[in-house]
C-alpha cells in the first residue's frame, strides 16, 4: 500500500525535467517567502496582486498554448489587447457596456480571421503574419484614439471586467480560473485539442489521418486573437480606460509563460496547467524582484536569467 502511495511521487521526481516548472515555482516561492517576509511578500494582498497582474498574461497564454501546440505562433496578442482596450472604451462611450463587449469581441474575431486567412490561405508563415499585425493593430489603436486615453464611465463594466472583487477574491481570478479550466479540458480531452496536438506533432501524418490541418491552424489563430481581445477588455476594465500602450510587449511574457510551462515552440506538445503556473511564476518573479528593491534594469536581467535557467533545466539531453 505504501508503495502505491509513493509511486506517483516517485514518477513525478523521476521525470523532474518535465516537471521543473512546478518544482521551480515552489522553490522560488519558498525563497521569496523566506527572504522577503518582512517586506510583505506573503501578505494576502500582495499574493492577490500577483494574480491581478498575471491574469491578462495567463488568459492570452492559454490560447497561445494552443497556437504553439499546433506549430504556429502569434506575436500580435499584446497589440491586439491594446487595440481592444481602445475599441471597447470608444464603443462604451457610444453604445454602453453591452456594445463595448460586442465591439471587443468583434475586434478579436476580425484580427483572428485575418491572421488565420493570411496564414492558411495565402500561405504567409504565422510569424510574419502576426508580426505585421502587431504593427497594424498598434497603428490602428493610436490612430482612432488620437494616441489619447479613452475613459470608461461604466462602473458595471469595470467591475465585471477586471476591477471588481467578490469578498477578497478579485474578479480577475475568476476569469483566469475559468479560461484555464476550459482551456485545460479542451486541450487534454476534446477532439479539437487532440487535433491541435496532432497538427503540431506531425502535419503530414495528421493530414493522412484525415485531419484538416489548415482549419485547425485557422481556428487556433482566431482563438488566440479572441483571447487577446478578452485580455484587452480586462485591461480596460481594470484601468477604466482604453489606451494603445496597454498590453505592449505582452507577447513575449505570454510566449515565455507557455514555454516555461512545458509547451514546445516546435509544436505537438503543450499543457495549459503548466502555462498557468508559468504565467504565475513570471508574475511572482516580477513581484519579488520589485519587493527586493531592485532597479528596473536589474529586474530585467534577473528575470531573463531565471527564465533561461528554467528552460535549460527542462531540456531533455541525449
Amino acid at each position: 500500500m505504501a508503495k502505491a502511495a509513493t509511486a506517483p511521487a516517485g514518477a513525478f521526481f523521476a521525470n523532474w525535467r518535465q516537471n521543473i516548472i512546478y518544482i521551480g515555482f515552489v522553490v522560488i516561492f519558498v525563497v521569496f517567502a523566506l527572504t522577503l517576509n518582512d517586506k510583505g511578500f506573503l501578505n494576502p494582498n500582495n499574493l492577490l496582486n500577483i494574480v491581478r497582474q498575471t491574469a491578462m498574461i495567463a488568459v492570452m497564454a492559454v490560447a497561445m498554448t494552443f497556437v504553439l501546440s499546433a506549430g504556429e505562433i502569434d506575436l500580435s496578442v499584446g497589440a491586439v489587447a491594446g487595440l481592444t482596450t481602445v475599441t471597447v472604451a470608444m464603443a462604451i462611450a457610444v453604445a454602453g457596456p453591452v456594445g463595448g463587449v460586442l465591439a471587443g469581441l468583434a475586434t478579436g474575431l476580425a484580427v483572428g480571421v485575418f491572421n488565420g486567412w493570411l496564414t492558411t490561405r495565402i500561405g504567409i508563415p504565422s510569424f510574419l503574419t502576426t508580426l505585421a499585425m502587431m504593427g497594424i493593430a498598434k497603428g490602428v489603436a493610436m490612430w482612432i484614439s488620437d494616441t489619447a486615453a479613452v475613459p470608461i464611465l461604466s462602473p458595471g463594466y469595470s467591475w465585471i471586467f477586471g476591477g471588481g472583487s467578490v469578498g477578497p477574491i478579485p474578479v480577475l481570478m475568476f476569469w483566469m480560473a475559468v479560461i484555464a479550466g476550459v482551456g485545460h479540458v479542451a486541450l487534454r480531452r476534446s477532439g479539437f485539442g487532440r487535433k491541435v496536438l496532432a497538427t503540431g506533432g506531425g502535419e503530414m501524418a495528421a493530414r493522412y489521418s484525415g485531419i484538416d490541418t489548415r482549419s485547425i491552424k485557422f481556428k487556433v489563430l482566431v482563438l488566440s486573437s479572441c483571447a487577446a481581445a478578452l485580455a484587452g477588455m480586462l485591461y480596460a476594465g481594470r484601468l477604466q480606460s482604453g489606451r494603445f500602450q496597454l498590453g505592449e510587449g505582452d507577447e513575449l511574457s505570454v510566449i515565455a509563460a507557455a514555454v516555461l510551462g512545458g509547451t514546445s515552440l516546435f509544436g505537438g506538445k503543450g499543457t495549459v496547467i503548466g502555462t498557468i503556473v508559468g504565467a504565475l511564476m513570471i508574475g511572482m518573479i516580477n513581484n519579488g524582484l520589485i519587493l527586493m528593491g531592485l532597479e528596473f534594469s536589474q529586474q530585467l536581467i534577473a528575470k531573463g536569467a531565471i527564465i533561461i535557467l528554467a528552460v535549460a533545466l527542462s531540456q531533455k539531453r541525449g
Partner: protein, 523 residues
C-alpha cells in the same frame, strides 16, 4: 468455378502524372470482397501511387473508383475512410508526440458521457488489438520513442482498428520478425473470412505466395496482368515484374576493370541494430553492389562504414591497416565518402548555389585563414561541373533549379571534392528519370576505372547489374551471398537487353532465396 464474389473495389482507367512523368496510365484494378489481393511491381511501377489514389491522398486526372458498388464522389482521405478503406502508411501517418493508443484512434477517439475523449478506453482497445496479434507494444508509449518494428505494428494496428471493408497493407512486414508476420497472416485470414477485401503489397514473393488469392502486377505505370496465384509461379511473376526494360540501362557498357589492391576490408562487422557479422573485401577499381529488400541492412552497413552509426564489433581495415571509425569525420579522414539516400535532406541545401554546395565538405581546406578562397570555390565547382557534365545555367544557380539527376551529380561532386578513395552511393538514382540514371551509372563505372573503390546500394536490380562487378545479397542484416556479376549472365544470350533481363530474374531469385534461408534459420 465458385460463384463470383462481390466486387469490393473497382478502379477503372486511372491516370496520374507527377511533374510530367506519368506514374499511372489508364490502370484498371479490381479486388473482390473476402480475398487477399497482392499488388506487385518493381520500383516506380505505380503501386504506391494507385494505393494513394484509392486512399484519397492523390487525386487522379482520369478514371473512376467504385467501392462496394458505390462510385466514390470525392477524392480525399476522409471520403475514402467513409467508404470503408483503411491503409497503413509506412510510418507516415504516425505523430511522434502522441502515444501509441492516441495515434491508433486519432480522430476516432472514444468519448465519455460528456463528449470528452476517453484515453483509458483507447489504451484498452489498443491493448486488445496487440493481444490479438500477440505482439508486445506498449499503448501508452510515445510513438517517437518506438523502434521501427513497433512503429510498423502501430501503423498496422491503426489500419485494422478501423474495421474497414477494404484494408490496404503497404509493405507491412519490412520491419517485422518472421513470427510477427505469421501472426499477422493468421489475423488476415480471419478478416478474409469475414468478407474484408485485403490489398497486400510486398516485395517478398514467399509472403505473397503464402497469403494471397490473386495478384495484379503493374509495370511502368501500366496494368500487366491480374490472375489467381495458382497461375503465377514465382518465376512467371518475376518475368512480368521485370518485363521488357525500356531503353537506357542496357546500353551502358560494362568495361573491363583491373582490380587493384584491397582498399577496404570488413571482418565480422556488426552495427548497433544491423548489420550482423558482415565480412567482405573491396578492391581498388571495382564496383560492389549491395542487393536486398528494404530493411535488409544495406543502408545500415553503409552508415557503419561511414561512421554515422559506428560498428559495435568486428574490424575494419583500410589498405591493410586496422582503423577505428567512430565519427563521420574519421571516415572522411580515411578517404571514405557516403552519398546518402535522402538527397533533399541529407545531400544538398536546395536554396544554395551549385558552387556553395560543392564545397560544403571542404570548407576547412579552402578557407585556410578563415576566409573562403573564392577562386578555389570557382575552380572546384567548374572542375566538377565539367567532370560530371552537370547541366546548370551557371555555378551560381540554386541547386533547387536543377533536375533530380543533376542534383544527384552535385551531391556526388561534393563528395568527390574531398578526394575519397572509397565512395558509397545509397540509392543514387532514386527519383531520377531513366536517361539520367544511365548517366549516373556510367559515372559510377568511370569512377571505378579511375582507381576508386565504389559501393552501390540500389533497389533497382537492373541498375546494380549494370553498375557492379560483384553483388552482395543481404537479408535481415546478414550477408547472404557474394555473386560475381559475370556468373549471372547467360553465355548463350547475345542481345544485351534480354541478357540484362535474364540476369535480373536470376538476381531476384537469389534475393528471394536469401529470405527463405533466413526463415529456415529462424524457424
Amino acid at each position: 468455378m465458385t460463384a463470383p464474389a462481390p466486387v469490393a473495389v473497382r478502379m477503372t482507367g486511372i491516370s496520374k502524372s507527377f511533374g510530367g512523368i506519368r506514374a499511372l496510365d489508364g490502370v484498371d484494378f479490381e479486388v473482390f470482397a473476402g480475398e487477399v489481393h497482392a499488388l506487385l511491381g518493381g520500383n516506380g511501377a505505380g503501386k504506391s501511387t494507385i494505393l494513394k489514389v484509392l486512399n484519397g491522398v492523390h487525386v487522379p486526372e482520369e478514371g473512376e473508383i467504385e467501392v462496394g458498388g458505390q462510385k466514390l464522389a470525392a477524392h480525399s482521405p476522409e471520403a475514402a475512410r467513409a467508404a470503408g478503406i483503411a491503409m497503413n502508411f509506412q510510418e507516415m501517418s504516425l505523430i511522434p508526440t502522441l502515444t501509441v493508443a492516441q495515434n491508433i484512434f486519432l480522430t476516432r477517439e472514444a468519448r465519455d458521457a460528456r463528449g470528452m475523449i476517453d484515453d483509458a478506453d483507447s489504451v484498452r482497445r489498443a491493448q486488445a488489438i496487440f493481444d490479438m496479434l500477440q505482439v508486445e507494444v506498449d499503448p501508452t508509449a510515445l510513438v517517437g520513442d518506438l523502434g521501427a518494428g513497433q512503429k510498423q505494428l502501430t501503423e498496422i494496428a491503426k489500419a485494422i482498428s478501423q474495421d474497414a471493408r477494404v484494408l490496404i497493407l503497404d509493405e507491412p512486414s519490412t520491419a517485422l520478425s518472421v513470427s510477427d508476420v505469421e501472426r499477422l497472416f493468421v489475423f488476415l485470414r480471419q478478416l478474409k473470412a469475414k468478407g474484408v477485401a485485403i490489398i497486400y503489397v510486398s516485395h517478398r514473393m514467399d509472403e505473397i505466395a503464402r497469403i494471397s488469392d490473386r495478384a495484379t502486377i503493374l509495370r511502368d505505370g501500366r496494368h500487366v496482368i491480374t490472375a489467381p496465384l495458382a497461375d503465377l509461379p514465382i518465376d512467371v511473376m518475376i518475368e512480368h515484374i521485370v518485363g521488357k526494360k525500356s531503353k537506357g540501362l542496357a546500353d551502358v557498357a560494362r568495361g573491363d576493370v583491373s582490380r587493384g589492391e584491397v582498399l577496404l576490408d570488413l571482418a565480422q562487422v556488426t552495427g548497433p541494430h544491423k548489420p550482423e557479422n558482415v565480412s567482405f573485401a573491396l578492391h581498388r577499381g571495382e564496383v560492389l553492389g549491395l542487393a536486398g529488400l528494404l530493411g535488409s541492412g544495406r543502408s545500415a552497413l553503409a552508415r557503419v562504414i561511414a561512421g554515422i552509426e559506428p560498428a559495435v564489433s568486428g574490424e575494419i581495415h583500410i589498405k591493410g591497416a586496422k582503423v577505428a571509425i567512430r565519427r563521420p569525420a574519421d571516415a572522411v579522414a580515411h578517404g571514405i565518402a557516403l552519398v546518402p539516400e535522402a538527397r533533399a535532406t541529407q545531400g544538398i541545401i536546395p536554396a544554395h548555389s551549385v558552387a556553395d554546395n560543392m564545397v560544403m565538405s571542404v570548407i576547412g581546406r579552402i578557407a585556410p585563414k578563415g576566409f573562403v578562397d573564392r577562386a578555389r570555390v570557382r575552380d572546384i565547382a567548374e572542375d566538377m561541373i565539367a567532370r560530371l557534365s552537370i547541366k546548370t545555367a551557371s555555378r551560381d544557380h540554386a541547386v533547387s533549379a536543377l533536375s533530380g539527376g543533376n542534383q544527384q551529380k552535385v551531391v556526388i561532386g561534393k563528395w568527390l571534392a574531398t578526394e575519397p578513395e572509397i565512395l558509397i552511393l545509397d540509392e543514387p538514382t532514386a527519383g531520377i528519370d531513366i536517361g539520367s540514371k544511365a548517366e549516373i551509372i556510367r559515372l559510377v563505372r568511370d569512377l571505378a576505372q579511375s582507381g576508386k573503390a565504389v559501393i552501390v546500394i540500389s533497389s533497382e536490380l537492373s541498375e546494380l547489374l549494370t553498375a557492379c562487378d560483384r553483388i552482395l545479397v543481404m537479408a535481415d542484416g546478414r550477408a547472404h551471398q557474394m555473386l560475381d556479376r559475370a556468373d549471372l549472365d547467360d553465355p548463350e544470350e547475345r542481345d544485351p537487353e534480354h541478357a540484362l533481363q535474364a540476369a535480373e530474374r536470376r538476381l531476384q531469385v537469389e534475393i528471394q532465396k536469401a529470405l527463405t534461408v533466413k526463415e529456415a534459420s529462424h524457424g
